[in-house]
Amino acid sequence: MKLRLAQIAHARSGDKGDIADIGLFAWEPTGYAMLAKQITADIVQQHLKHLWSEKINLNESGQKNKQIDRFDLPNLLALKFVLRGTLNGGAASSLRSDNLGKTVAAQLLRLEIDVPDHEATAVLKATEQALVNF
């Protein structure tokens, strides 16, 4: 079945210059294992590809810089994504309503992944359990 990330994770995003920076947090360990396996840098880059402005994101040789990194933090049940060249030139240069990239995390939480039914059921149940004492 399909799971939307918002069902199993929470997230916050921010900016540094033209870089959007997203923290993605599973509510509990089975969800973290699922995120770590499925939410690759490539998947996130594909999902958010509209954020890159081709013109701005070339280096002096006219080549594309490496555009996205993922960092894993099992101690925090979290993945960090760093997306270079995605904020329309950066806050004070951006034409966008969200010039600070604060809502990029919400876009990531709308990502849907395909998960075998029994795994999805298990992670949803564990998430519900983890939230009982929030």
């Binding site: 918002a6 069902q7 929470h10 997230a11 916050r12 995003s13 921010g14 900016d15 540094k16 210059g17 033209d18 870089i19 920076d21 923290g23 947090f25 509510w27 999902h47 509209h50 954020l51 402005s53 994101n57 280096n59 002096e60 810089n65 990194d69 960092f71 933090l73 101690n75 925090l76 049940l77 979290a78 960090k80 760093v82 270079r84 060249g85 329309n88 030139g89 950066g90 806050a91 004070a92 240069s93 034409l95 966008r96 309503s97 969200d98 600070l100 604060k102 809502t103 995390a105 919400a106 876009q107 939480l109 709308r110 939230l131 929030f134």
Partner: protein, 455 residues
């Protein structure tokens, strides 16, 4: 054993200081550490300073201290604030003037030396081409448009100011976490190479620097954010720190917000890029072994920060004039809102073409539909949409073109698609400022840093 309690002050220029007052009154804090400067803020302050050379600091400094100082001073609470922005000396003098008027006494220290604009030529002559940290481009491409350039200073000048018995320390650009690390270095006499303790201090500072984001504000969790209690009276985070760098994050009693594993880790990773090497001027922090332990009752302990030696270079962010934005917002009411907004966009595009308007980029957003979610907005049935706002913006190198752009819109009210409303005037062109992050050898900057007590 002595413990020190730091509270988050403001988290940005324009934040609310009532939670800071609560921390002073009920949080038993020793220091208020207040971060007024987002990366963007110097660009805003530069616009002020161009109009009046005595400005360039954040104007919330004086009203904030007017409100907080009487309560703080009776409890011996000290302040560290980067409200100096581009002009820390004028900020400190404005505060001094307030204190003179009120008959209040305080030792006010000012930290200067983060301004490196006058050094750029010298740095370039020394063979450093100040290449862009992220793209590698040389600074020559924007050299003539640079309007400010400031280094991120570390915690040592703040600790030095406190050692001079300052009650209030005003700085310009410093690393956000340094505002918090400075008092800890001073109080506990931590060595400048005590990487473990410094790393714990930086972690505490990072958790506090964004005020309410450390206690469940802006908590990005669908269906769960509602469980954060009483956001209207949110308590800003307080770090209770021991000599060995052990940290407990808590907040004032009877305040809103929530401190638990989830809210704290969401802030921990905020804007840090590589969590294994979060570079600050004082220490490089590795978060990969950090342990956040939920102690209950809005308390979380933080341990396991790994520190490695401070970098040999300091980060500079320069701002450069980067063209102009012309923009406009106008609303459309049911029926056919998306069709009508698209028709208006097409009309405007045609007019731009016919008027030969010069621009580099056009941004079109339907506020209320896709301005934030972009292609991930749920496609809407026309009849289900009550209303939307059309926002259009252009990027251009010419201010006149930017000013001309919104003037294409008013006539649509009588000669465009029906039921257009909420047109609230023509905004002036807005100057765009590009940010140029780069690195310089720290000694070049540090030799010009000074810490002075105002007479």
């Amino acid at each position: 054993m002595k413990r020190i309690r730091l509270t988050s002050g403001l988290g940005f220029y324009g934040d609310n200081w009532h939670p800071v007052l609560a921390a002073i009154e009920r949080g038993d804090v020793d220091y208020v550490c207040s971060d007024h400067l987002a990366e963007l803020t110097l660009a805003i302050l530069q616009k002020d300073r161009l109009k009046d050379p005595n400005t360039g600091y954040t104007r919330d400094l004086v009203p904030m201290l007017t409100r907080l100082w009487p309560t703080a001073s009776s409890r011996g609470v000290k302040f560290v604030l980067n409200a100096g922005g581009l002009n820390p000396r004028s900020a400190a003098e404005a505060l001094q003037k307030l204190f003179a008027e009120k008959g209040w006494r305080a030792r006010i220290a000012v930290v200067t030396g983060d301004n490196v604009l006058p050094l750029i030529e010298q740095i370039q002559l020394g063979g450093n081409d100040l290449q862009h940290m992220d793209t590698g481009a040389p600074i020559e491409s924007v050299r003539d448009q640079i309007i400010f350039a400031n280094a991120y200073l570390g915690a040592q000048p703040i600790a030095q100011a406190l050692a001079k018995d300052a009650d209030i320390v005003i700085t310009g650009r410093v690393a956000d976490a340094a505002l918090f690390l400075g008092p800890l270095i001073f109080e506990f006499e931590w060595d400048a190479a005590d990487w473990h303790r410094l790393a714990q201090g930086v972690t505490a500072g990072h958790l506090l620097e964004c005020s309410g984001q450390g206690t469940g504000g802006n908590f990005g969790a669908a269906g769960v954010w509602q469980r954060i209690p009483d956001l209207a009276h949110i308590g800003f985070p307080i770090a209770d720190v021991g000599h060995d760098g052990d940290v407990i994050i808590c907040k004032a009693p009877d305040s809103g917000g929530r401190i638990n594993f989830h809210t704290v880790r969401q802030q921990l990773l905020y804007e840090v890029h590589n969590p294994r090497a979060y570079v600050t001027p004082d220490v490089i922090l590795d978060m990969s072994e950090l342990e956040l332990k939920d102690l209950g009752n809005d308390r979380v302990s933080v341990s396991g920060a790994i520190g490695t030696a401070a970098p040999n270079q300091l980060k500079i962010v320069a701002g450069y004039a980067n063209g102009w934005m012309g923009h406009i917002v106008t609303g459309f009411c049911w029926p056919d809102v998306l069709r009508k907004a698209n028709a208006a966009v097409n009309t405007i595009r045609l007019m731009m073409q016919e008027a030969e308007l010069q621009y580099d980029e056009l941004c079109v957003e339907f506020i209320g539909h896709n301005a934030f979610l972009g292609p991930h907005a749920t496609p809407a049935e026309e009849d289900a949409i009550n209303e939307i706002w059309l926002r259009m913006a252009i990027r251009t190198q010419d201010k006149k073109q930017a000013d001309a752009f919104p003037r294409l819109f008013p006539w649509l009210a009588l000669s465009g698609p029906p039921f257009m409303g909420g047109f609230h005037g023509i905004p002036p062109a807005s100057q765009l400022i590009g940010l140029w992050p780069t690195l310089v050898p720290r000694r070049l900057v540090e030799t010009q840093v000074s810490v002075d007590i105002l007479k």
